[in-house]
C-alpha cells in the first residue's frame, strides 16, 4: 500500500488545489493554474523556497491615525505601556496580513507557523507585553522549518513562554511546575502514547521543573525600557542531580552550578525528551492531523506516523522539520482522494482562504495602514466570534479543533455556523467598505460578464447559459465533487428559482443590450448572488 512514498504523477487541478488548501491558507485561481502539472516534489519545494519572500517583512506600525507615531514602526521605540494593548493587537493584525497576502509568491511558512504557535501556545492576553509577543512570534516563524531540538530549547527560554507558563517563577526553593508539565504533556512526549499508556510520571514533572529553575525574563512591562531578554540566575537554580523515571530510562541529569548551568541542563533535558520514543511520534501525529486527516487509525499509526517519526529522529535528519513536512506533503497518503475534504476549515482558512480565492487585495500594512487596519479589525473580530482568536488560544492546549474529540468538527456548532454564514454573506452583499473604491466581496456581475464572449454583440454571439454560470461559479471552489443532483438543484432551484433555464438567456441578453438599466442589472444580480451566496453557505464549502 502506498503511504509515505512520494506521489510522482504531475498534479491535476484538483490535486494542486488540495495541496494549496492544506499547505497555505487557500489558493488564488492563478496559483491553482501555476501549480497544476508540477510534480508534488516540485510544488512543495516551490512552497518552501517561496518563504524567502516573507521571512523578513517590514515590521508592524502604529495603525491609529490619531497617534503621533501613526504609520511608523513601534518595536524599535522604548516600551510604551499606554499603547500596549493596541500594539499587541497590531502584531496580531500584522501576522494575519502575512497569512492573507497575495503580492508575493505563495509559501507554506505561515500555515506551518500557525501550527507551531498552536503547539507552543502563548497568548497576547497573558503575555501582555507586546515586545514579548513580537519576539515570540518571530521565533515561531524563524524556527517553523528549522530544527525541532533548537526550537524546544529556544521556546523554553523565550520571555513570552517564561511568562505564559510561569517559568519565571520557577526557583530552587519554590519550584513552579507549570512549564515542566506542559513541556512534556503538550510540547514533546505527549500525555499518552497511541495505545493510551502513560508516557511520564508526576515525579518526572517535578524533576524537570527542578532542571528548569533559574530562568527569568527582564524589563517586563517596564515603561521606557529599550531592551528585554531572558537570563539565567544561577543562584535560583537547583544544582542537585535530577532523577527521572523508567519512561526516560531512569536517566539522571547531572546538576550543575555556575552561569552556564541553565543552558547545559536545558540541553541535557531536551536531549532526554527527544530521546523518548514517543516524542517524534507525538509531533508527527500532530502534523498529520494538521495537514492530512484528524483520524489516525492503527494502520495510519503503523504505516505513516511511525515511519515518519523514525525519519524525523534518524541521525541523518536529526529532528530537522523541513524534510518531514516535505515528505508528508509529497506523500501518496496526502494525495489519496479520501483525504480531500477530510478537515473542516478553521475560521482563518475560511476567511483568509475566501479572500485569497476571490482575490481580495490586502492593503499595504505600512503605506495604506488605515485600510489595512479596517480590514484586519473586521477579520479579527469575526474570527474571535468564530472561536479562533489569533494569538489568543483559550488554553495552553491550543484551539479545541486540534485536540478535542471530534477534532475539526469543533469549529462547527449551531452558533459558529451562523456566524460563518454571516461572513460569507458579507462577501455577497458587499456592505463592508475597506476603503473608498474597495468594497469587500465578490463582483458576481464582473465574473459573469467575463464569461460572455463579445458581450456587446447581442445578435451575433449567443448568450451564455445558466449551466455555464453554475459551472464557472463552482469551479475549484470545493474540495469534493458535487453530485449531478446538486448541480441540478443549484441551477433550477437556487439560480433559476423555478423558472425555466432558457429564461436566463432572455434576461442576460436584455442586460447585454442595455447594461446601464438598473432593472435589467438587478435581475442578473438577484440570480447570481443567490447562487454564490448559497454556494458559500453549503457544507461543502466549509470542508477542505
Amino acid at each position: 500500500m502506498p503511504y509515505l512514498s512520494t506521489y510522482t504523477e504531475p498534479l491535476t487541478t484538483a490535486q494542486a488545489s488540495h495541496l494549496l488548501r492544506r499547505a497555505t491558507f487557500g489558493p488564488t485561481p492563478n496559483e491553482i493554474t501555476q501549480f497544476t502539472g508540477l510534480t508534488a516534489t516540485q510544488a512543495v519545494q516551490q512552497l518552501i523556497a517561496n518563504q524567502s519572500f516573507v521571512t523578513n517583512p517590514p515590521p508592524p506600525v502604529e495603525l491609529d491615525s490619531s497617534q503621533p507615531l501613526a504609520g511608523q514602526p513601534f518595536l524599535d521605540k522604548p516600551f510604551n505601556s499606554d499603547r500596549n494593548f493596541w500594539f499587541g493587537t497590531y502584531i496580531k493584525f500584522w501576522w494575519a496580513g502575512q497569512m492573507a497576502r497575495q503580492d508575493v509568491p505563495v509559501s507554506l511558512l505561515d500555515k506551518l507557523a500557525l501550527f507551531w504557535q498552536n503547539h507552543f501556545v502563548t497568548t497576547r492576553t497573558v503575555v501582555d507585553d507586546y515586545r514579548y509577543l513580537d519576539r515570540y512570534l518571530r521565533l515561531i516563524r524563524a524556527q517553523a522549518l528549522g530544527n525541532f531540538r533548537t526550537f524546544v530549547v529556544e521556546i523554553t527560554k523565550d520571555p513570552a513562554m517564561l511568562r505564559y507558563l510561569n517559568g519565571h517563577d520557577n526557583e530552587k526553593d519554590s519550584p513552579n511546575e507549570n512549564y515542566a508539565r506542559e513541556l512534556q504533556e503538550l510540547f514533546t512526549v505527549g500525555n499518552k502514547d497511541f495505545a493510551g499508556n502513560d508516557t511520564y510520571t508526576e515525579e518526572d514533572v517535578k524533576a524537570a521543573a527542578r532542571v528548569l529553575t533559574g530562568w527569568k525574563y527582564t524589563n517586563y512591562w517596564q515603561q521606557g525600557s529599550t531592551s528585554f531578554t531572558s537570563i539565567f540566575r544561577s543562584d535560583k537554580h537547583d544544582s542537585d542531580n535530577k532523577q527521572f523515571s523508567s519512561y526516560y530510562g531512569n536517566a539522571v541529569l547531572t546538576g550543575r552550578s555556575g552561569s552556564t548551568a541553565g543552558d547545559d541542563e536545558l540541553n541535557d533535558l531536551v536531549d532526554m525528551l527527544l530521546a523518548h520514543p514517543e516524542t517524534p511520534k507525538f509531533i508527527c501525529r500532530k502534523l498529520y492531523r494538521w495537514y492530512v486527516n484528524a483520524a489516525v487509525t492503527q494502520e495510519i499509526e503503523d504505516q505513516v506516523i511511525i515511519p515518519l517519526a523514525n525519519f524525523f529522529k534518524s541521525p541523518g535528519n536529526n529532528f530537522a522539520i523541513m524534510p518531514v513536512v516535505e515528505k508528508l506533503l509529497t506523500s501518496q497518503i496526502f494525495f489519496q482522494e479520501s483525504n480531500r475534504g477530510s478537515l473542516i476549515k478553521s475560521p482563518a482558512e475560511l476567511m483568509l482562504g475566501s479572500l485569497r480565492f476571490f482575490e481580495q487585495p490586502i492593503p499595504d500594512p505600512t503605506t495604506d495602514y488605515q485600510a489595512f487596519r479596517k480590514l484586519m479589525d473586521f477579520l479579527h473580530w469575526n474570527s474571535t466570534d468564530m472561536q479562533m482568536e489569533c494569538l489568543d488560544q483559550p488554553t495552553v492546549f491550543g484551539y479545541d479543533a486540534y485536540f478535542q474529540t471530534g477534532y475539526t468538527k469543533n469549529w462547527m456548532n449551531t452558533t459558529t455556523i451562523a456566524l460563518r454564514s454571516q461572513f460569507t454573506d458579507a462577501l455577497i452583499w458587499r456592505w463592508f467598505e475597506v476603503k473608498p473604491g474597495y468594497k469587500l466581496g465578490v463582483d458576481v456581475l464582473a465574473r459573469v460578464t467575463a464569461l460572455q464572449p463579445n458581450f456587446a454583440d447581442v445578435p451575433g454571439t449567443p448568450a451564455i447559459t445558466c449551466e455555464t454560470v453554475v459551472a464557472n461559479f463552482v469551479k475549484d471552489l470545493f474540495a469534493t465533487e458535487l453530485f449531478p443532483s446538486q448541480i441540478e438543484f443549484l441551477t433550477d432551484t437556487i439560480m433559476m428559482m423555478g423558472y425555466s433555464r432558457v429564461t436566463w438567456q432572455f434576461e442576460w441578453n436584455a442586460y447585454r443590450s442595455n447594461p446601464s438599466s438598473t432593472d435589467r442589472q438587478n435581475t442578473i444580480l438577484w440570480r447570481t448572488r443567490s447562487l454564490m451566496r448559497y454556494l458559500l453557505r453549503m457544507a461543502e464549502y466549509h470542508v477542505f
Binding site: 510561569n166 517563577d169 526557583e171 526553593d173 519554590s174 519550584p175 513552579n176 511546575e177 507549570n178 508539565r181 504533556e185 500525555n191 499518552k192 493510551g196 508526576e202 514533572v205 486527516n293 484528524a294 483520524a295 479520501s338 483525504n339 475534504g341 477530510s342 473542516i344 472561536q387 483559550p394 488554553t395 495552553v396 492546549f397 479545541d400 478535542q404 474529540t405 471530534g406 475539526t408 468538527k409 462547527m412 456548532n413 449551531t414 452558533t415 459558529t416 455556523i417 451562523a418 454564514s421 454571516q422 474540495a479 469534493t480 465533487e481 453530485f483 443532483s485 446538486q486 443549484l490 432551484t493 437556487i494 448559497y534 453557505r537 453549503m538 457544507a539 461543502e540 466549509h542 470542508v543
Partner: protein, 513 residues
C-alpha cells in the same frame, strides 16, 4: 416501654448484637429503597421528574479548593501549608450551624445559600489514580470514566441519548420540542457528547442567535461524498438544520421569560452571571431543555492568585466573587420566578490544587477539591468532611524531598452524577449504572436520610452514604448485612433498622423523632 427507653435499655446489653425492630415509624417515602415497588411505580409517573433541570457550572483551570472552603477547625495547619496565600482567620466567612468550615470572604452569596439550606458542600471530590493534566482530568470528569479508560461520549450526553432516542433525526417532536441541552457560550463540552454528535446546542445570546440563523436555508441533497469528507459534510448539515430548527423556540422562550432578580452589573465583567441570566430567562420562558452548561475560566492559578499586600484579594478572590454572585443571583431569580424547585446546579473543575502553595503566590495542580450542588431541593448541606490536613494528605508517607502535599479524595465525582441521574432525573438505577459504567453508592444528596454503605464504627465517615456520620436531624437506615458499632451515644432523628447495631458500654442511640 417508650422507644427511647427501649433503646437505652437495649444499649446496656454490652457487646451483644441486637436487632432493632424494623417498624420504627416516621419515614418519608424517600427513605425507602430505590428498588421498592412503590418507589419504582412513582418514578415512572413521569410528571414528578419531567420538568426537572440541571445546570452544570464548569470552573475552567482547576479551582483551589482549600481557599474556597476553608477548614476552620485546622486553621493553624492550613496557614502553615500556604502561609503566603492563606486567608486570615478572622476574614473567613463562618457558616450557620457549622463551626468547623468556612468560606472565602468573597463568597458571601454562596454563604447565604448555604445558610438557607440551598447549597451543598461535597468535600474532597476526585477519583482514584488522579491525573494532573488539565486535558486528561477534565476529560475524565466530563466523560465519567476510570482514570485508565477513555470514552468519546460524555456522561450527560449518554443520559440524554438514552432518554431522547432518535435525536436529532426525529426531533423536535411533541415529546420534546426544545433543545435537549444548551451551552451558553461557544465551548462545546465533551460532557454533552453522544455517540454521533453533541446532544446540546451552543448559543451565545438568544436574540442574536435567532437573527444569525437564516430559516430559509436548506441543504440541497441528502447525498454525501465518501469517507471523512462525507462524515464532516453530514455533521455540518446537521448543525445547520439544528440551528434553524431550534432558533424559533429559543427566541420565543427568551421573549417570554423575565429576569426578576438583580444580577451583577455589566461593569463587573461577570461572564458567568451573564450566562446564568440567560439560563434563568430561558427556563422561565418555558424552554423544556434538560441540561444547561455554563463556564467560568481562569482558575489555573499557578501564580499571583492573591495580591502581594492582601491574601483576600487577587485573581482567585475575583473568580470566587464572580462565582458566588452569579449563582446566588441565579438562585434568587428562579426563586422569584417560582421555579426554584425545578432546578439544581452543580459546579466542577479540572482538579483541586495543592494544599501547599508555591512561592509565586499560587498553587500547582493537585487532586481533590470541593464541589457545590445548589438548589432548594438538596437535602444535605455537607457531604464528607473537612480534609484532614495533618494525617489525610498525600503522599501518605512523604520522602524527605517531597515538600508538597495534596488533598486526598473522599468522594468519587461519579457519586454526585449518580444521585443527579437517579434521584433528580428519576433514571432507573440500572440505566444510571450503564451511563456511569459502574454502580456508585448514593450520597443521599436529595433525601433527608442517611444510609450505611458498609459495616464499621458509627464514627467512621466512610461507612455512610454522605461520607460522614449522621447528624441529629437526620433519619438513618442501617442497611441489610451491615453491622455498625456504637462506642459512644449518638443522637439522630430516627433509625430504620435492616442490619445490626452493636453497642459498647453505656452507649445508646437517642431518637428525636
Amino acid at each position: 416501654m417508650k422507644r427511647r427507653d427501649f433503646l437505652a435499655a437495649a444499649s446496656t446489653l454490652a457487646a451483644n448484637s441486637l436487632l432493632l425492630p424494623i417498624e420504627v415509624d416516621g419515614f418519608s417515602l424517600k427513605a425507602l429503597g430505590k428498588n421498592s415497588a412503590l418507589v419504582k411505580a412513582l418514578k415512572h409517573t413521569t410528571a414528578a421528574f419531567n420538568d426537572r433541570i440541571l445546570v452544570i457550572v464548569y470552573l475552567n483551570g482547576g479551582n483551589d479548593g482549600l481557599n474556597t472552603v476553608i477548614p476552620r477547625d485546622q486553621y493553624g495547619t492550613y496557614q502553615a501549608l500556604r502561609s503566603n496565600i492563606a486567608i486570615p482567620e478572622e476574614e473567613i466567612l463562618p457558616l450557620a450551624g457549622n463551626d468547623v468550615t468556612g468560606f472565602h470572604p468573597a463568597m458571601s452569596g454562596l454563604r447565604n445559600l448555604y445558610n438557607e439550606g440551598k447549597l451543598s458542600i461535597i468535600h474532597s471530590v476526585s477519583y482514584p489514580n488522579p491525573s494532573q493534566s488539565h486535558f486528561r482530568s477534565t476529560d475524565i470528569l466530563m466523560t465519567a470514566v476510570d482514570a485508565d479508560q477513555t470514552e468519546t461520549t460524555g456522561w450527560a450526553g449518554r443520559y440524554l441519548e438514552d432518554r431522547f432516542q432518535g435525536y436529532p433525526a426525529d426531533f423536535p417532536n411533541e415529546v420534546m420540542e426544545d433543545p435537549l441541552a444548551i451551552q451558553i457560550g461557544y465551548l462545546t463540552s465533551p460532557t454533552l457528547l453522544g455517540t454521533q454528535q453533541s446532544m446540546g446546542i451552543a448559543i451565545s445570546d438568544p436574540n442574536s442567535f435567532y437573527q444569525l440563523v437564516s430559516p430559509e436555508f436548506s441543504a440541497s441533497t441528502n447525498e454525501l461524498p465518501c469517507c471523512d469528507a462525507g462524515d464532516l459534510i453530514a455533521h455540518i448539515r446537521k448543525q445547520q438544520i439544528l440551528s434553524i430548527g431550534y432558533a424559533g423556540e429559543i427566541k420565543q422562550a427568551a421573549d417570554l421569560g423575565t429576569n426578576m432578580a438583580a444580577y451583577p452589573p455589566g461593569t463587573d465583567n461577570n461572564s458567568l452571571a451573564e450566562q446564568l441570566k440567560i439560563v434563568a430567562r430561558l427556563i422561565h420562558g418555558g424552554l423544556k431543555t434538560k441540561i444547561y452548561f455554563v463556564s467560568l475560566s481562569g482558575f489555573d492559578t499557578h501564580a499571583g492568585q492573591v495580591t502581594n499586600s492582601n491574601s483576600t484579594e487577587g485573581e482567585h478572590a475575583v473568580l470566587l466573587g464572580k462565582l458566588s454572585a452569579a449563582i446566588s443571583s441565579f438562585q434568587q431569580d428562579i426563586q422569584l420566578q417560582g421555579i426554584e424547585d425545578k432546578v439544581v446546579g452543580m459546579t466542577f473543575s479540572d482538579f483541586g490544587r495543592r494544599a501547599t502553595s508555591n512561592a509565586s503566590k499560587g498553587t500547582d495542580h493537585g487532586v481533590a477539591a470541593p464541589m457545590f450542588v445548589f438548589g432548594s431541593s438538596i437535602k444535605k448541606q455537607v457531604v464528607g468532611h473537612n480534609p484532614d490536613l495533618t494525617n489525610g494528605l498525600l503522599p501518605v508517607a512523604p520522602l524527605p524531598w517531597e515538600n508538597y502535599r495534596d488533598i486526598a479524595m473522599q468522594i468519587d465525582f461519579r457519586r454526585v452524577y449518580a444521585d443527579i441521574l437517579n434521584d433528580w432525573f428519576g433514571t432507573e438505577t440500572t440505566k444510571t449504572d450503564t451511563f456511569l459504567f459502574n454502580n456508585f453508592n448514593t450520597l443521599t444528596l436529595f433525601s433527608d436520610h442517611i444510609e450505611t454503605i458498609a459495616s464499621g464504627y458509627w464514627t467512621d465517615p466512610t461507612i455512610w452514604t454522605a461520607g460522614r456520620p449522621p447528624l441529629s436531624t437526620e433519619y438513618v437506615r442501617i442497611n441489610p448485612g451491615h453491622t455498625v458499632q456504637v462506642l459512644q451515644s449518638v443522637t439522630v432523628r430516627n433509625v430504620h433498622m435492616q442490619g445490626n447495631l452493636q453497642f459498647a458500654g453505656n452507649a445508646g442511640i437517642h431518637l428525636t423523632g
